[in-house]
C-alpha cells in the first residue's frame, strides 16, 4: 500500500516534514514559510545540560513546536498520538497508511539505517514521513535527503521507541482536515511576534539573545577551565549544532531570512525585505564564527588570545541579533 506522495528535500527535518505534509494536502507552503510561521528560530545555551559531557546549544525552538504552531495558525486539524506499546504503534501506522494518509513521525536517528553512519548518533527528535509499505518495508520521505528511502519494520520500531532524552514514544502525527482557504498573513504576523518574544524577552541567561552573550563569556574561559581536548570538543559541538544537523546554514539564520523575504513579497512589506538582508548578514557572521572556531580546533592549542577573539566575534553577533529582533518587533501590522 502506498500513497502518491511527493518527496521534496529541505534543509531541516521538522520544517521540511511540515511543508511536505501541507503540500500533500494542497497547501502551497515553502519550508521557509513553515519555519517562520512556526516561530522556529531561536538560540539557547545550557551549560548544565550535558550530553557526553558537553553542554547543550540549540539554534531552534524545541522539537514539535513548528508543526504544532503552523497547523494551529493556519486552522489545520491534526491527529497526534503517542504509544507505550510497540505493536500498537505499528498497527495504528499501518491503519493510517491503509487509508492513504502519509504519516509524520518522531524517531531516533541512530536506528534509521537508511542514513549514513556519520549522522547516526543518539538524537531522538528527528522528523520523517512514512507514506507507504511495500514488500514488507516502509517507504520513507526523509526531508534531509534528496531521494526516498526504505526501512524495515524492525528498524523503524527501534527508531520510534529509541530511549534517551527526549524519547519519541512512537509519536506520530498527520493532517485530518484543511480549511477551504488559507490566509498566511495572520500566521506570519503571529509567528514573527512569537519569535521576537522568544529571542528578546526571556530574562534567563540561557535563552534568546542573552544566551549568545552567555556562551561568548563561557568560550572566553574555556582554555582556563577545560583541557585542550575538551575545548575542541565543546567548540566542535557548537559547530555541529549550527551546521551539521541540517539548518540551511548559519544556524537556521539563512532559512529565517528566506522566510522574511518571502513574507515581504507576499505582504508587500518592504521593511521585512530589509530585515531579511540584515539577518542574512548575521547568518554570514555565524558562518565566520564557525570558521574561526574550527581554526582553533585544528590548532589544538589553548590559545588564550584566540579564545578571547572568538568570544568577541560571538558578543558582536549577540549585539546584532538583539538590535535585529528589536527592529523586527517594531514592524507595524
Amino acid at each position: 500500500m502506498s500513497t502518491q506522495f511527493t518527496h521534496r528535500q529541505h534543509a531541516h527535518c521538522e520544517s521540511g516534514v511540515t511543508a511536505n505534509l501541507l503540500q500533500h494536502n494542497g497547501i502551497q507552503i515553502s519550508e521557509p514559510m513553515a519555519f517562520g510561521i512556526g516561530a522556529g528560530i531561536f538560540f539557547g545555551h545550557l551549560p548544565f545540560m550535558k550530553v557526553s559531557g558537553i553542554p547543550g546549544t540549540t539554534f531552534r525552538i524545541w522539537p514539535g513546536y513548528i508543526f504544532k504552531r503552523v497547523t494551529q495558525r493556519l486552522g489545520i486539524k491534526i491527529h497526534t498520538q503517542k504509544f507505550s506499546n510497540e505493536a500498537k504503534a505499528q498497527q495504528v501506522l499501518d491503519e493510517a497508511l491503509g487509508q492513504g494518509i502519509p504519516v509524520g513521525m518522531i524517531a531516533g536517528v541512530y536506528y534509521l539505517d537508511y542514513l549514513p553512519e556519520a549522522f547516526r548518533f543518539h538524537f531522538n527528535a528527528h522528523n520523517l514521513v512514512v507514506y507507504g509499505k511495500e514488500d514488507g518495508k516502509y517507504l520513507v520521505s526523509d526531508p534531509v535527503l534528496e531521494g526516498n528511502s526504505v526501512i524495515s519494520p524492525e528498524s523503524l520500531t527501534k527508531a520510534r521507541f529509541a530511549k534517551g532524552f527526549p524519547e519519541p514514544k512512537g509519536k506520530m502525527y498527520y493532517i485530518k482536515e484543511v480549511p477551504d482557504t488559507i490566509d498566511f498573513t495572520k500566521g506570519i504576523q503571529d509567528g514573527i511576534k512569537q519569535t521576537c518574544f522568544f529571542m528578546s524577552s526571556p530574562p534567563l541567561p540561557w535563552f534568546g539573545v542573552n544566551a549568545i552573550h552567555t556562551l561568548a563569556n563561557k568560550i572566553e574561559k574555556y582554555p582556563k577551565q577545560l583541557t585542550p581536548r575538551q575545548c575542541t570538543l565543546y567548540l566542535g559541538n557548537i559547530i555541529r549544532m549550527q551546521e551539521e544537523i541540517g539548518t540551511g546554514g548559519g544556524g537556521f539564520r539563512f532559512l529565517y531570512a528566506a522566510f522574511l523575504q518571502e513574507a515581504a513579497n507576499l505582504l508587500g512589506k518592504n521593511e521585512l525585505g530589509i530585515l531579511s538582508e540584515r539577518y542574512t548578514a548575521i547568518g554570514d557572521q555565524w558562518r565566520h564564527f564557525a570558521y574561526s572556531a574550527a581554526r582553533l580546533c585544528k590548532a589544538r592549542t589553548s590559545d588564550l588570545v584566540s579564545y578571547t577573539d572568538l568570544s568577541k566575534l560571538l558578543h558582536d553577533i549577540g549585539d546584532k541579533e538583539k538590535a535585529f529582533f528589536k527592529d523586527l518587533k517594531k514592524v507595524k501590522w
Binding site: Q9, A11, G236, I239
Partner: protein, 134 residues
C-alpha cells in the same frame, strides 16, 4: 551566503558524502534560492573530531577490558555511542546497577537473561559480548 559561496567540500567520512545537504543562499539579485552542498570543511572537521574522540575513548576502554580492569559492558556501551543514563533506560535498570556490571567479577556471574538483554541492546550476539577482550 551567496550561491557562489556555498561550499562543496566533499568528505568521504562514514558516508558523509552520500548526503548533499540543502542550503539557503542568495542569487546575484539578492533573492533566496535552495542549493545543495557537498559539505563544508568546517563542519567536516567538527564531525570527524567528534567521531575520533569516540574512537579514542573506545580504544582506551578496549585496553582496560583486555587488562581485566573492566567488563565488556562499557566497551559495547561506548561502541553503541551510548552514555550510562541512556543504557540504563534501555536496560530498564538504575544507573548504579549497570555500573556494577562494569566490574569483571560481577559480569562473570550475570545470568543468561541479562546477557541476552544486553546483547539485544548492543545488537551483538551473547558470545560476542562475553568473549570480547579475551
Amino acid at each position: 551566503m551567496k550561491t557562489n559561496e556555498v561550499p562543496q567540500d566533499k568528505e568521504d567520512y562514514k558516508g558523509k558524502s552520500e548526503v548533499r545537504k540543502l542550503m539557503y543562499a542568495t542569487k546575484e539579485d539578492g533573492t533566496y534560492t535552495q542549493m545543495n552542498s557537498e559539505g563544508w570543511e568546517v563542519e567536516n572537521l567538527a564531525t570527524k573530531q567528534a567521531w575520533e574522540s569516540v574512537l579514542e575513548d573506545l580504544q582506551e576502554t578496549e585496553q582496560q577490558v583486555k587488562q581485566g580492569l573492566l567488563s565488556p559492558i562499557p566497551y559495547f556501551m561506548q561502541k553503541s555511542l551510548m552514555e550510562l543514563p541512556v543504557l540504563a533506560k534501555y536496560m530498564g535498570k538504575w544507573q548504579w546497577q549497570i555500573k556494577k556490571h562494569f566490574k569483571p567479577e560481577v559480569f562473570k556471574k550475570l545470568d543468561q537473561k541479562i546477557l541476552e538483554q544486553y546483547s539485544k541492546v548492543f545488537e551483538v550476539s551473547v558470545s560476542e559480548l562475553t568473549n570480547f577482550g579475551k
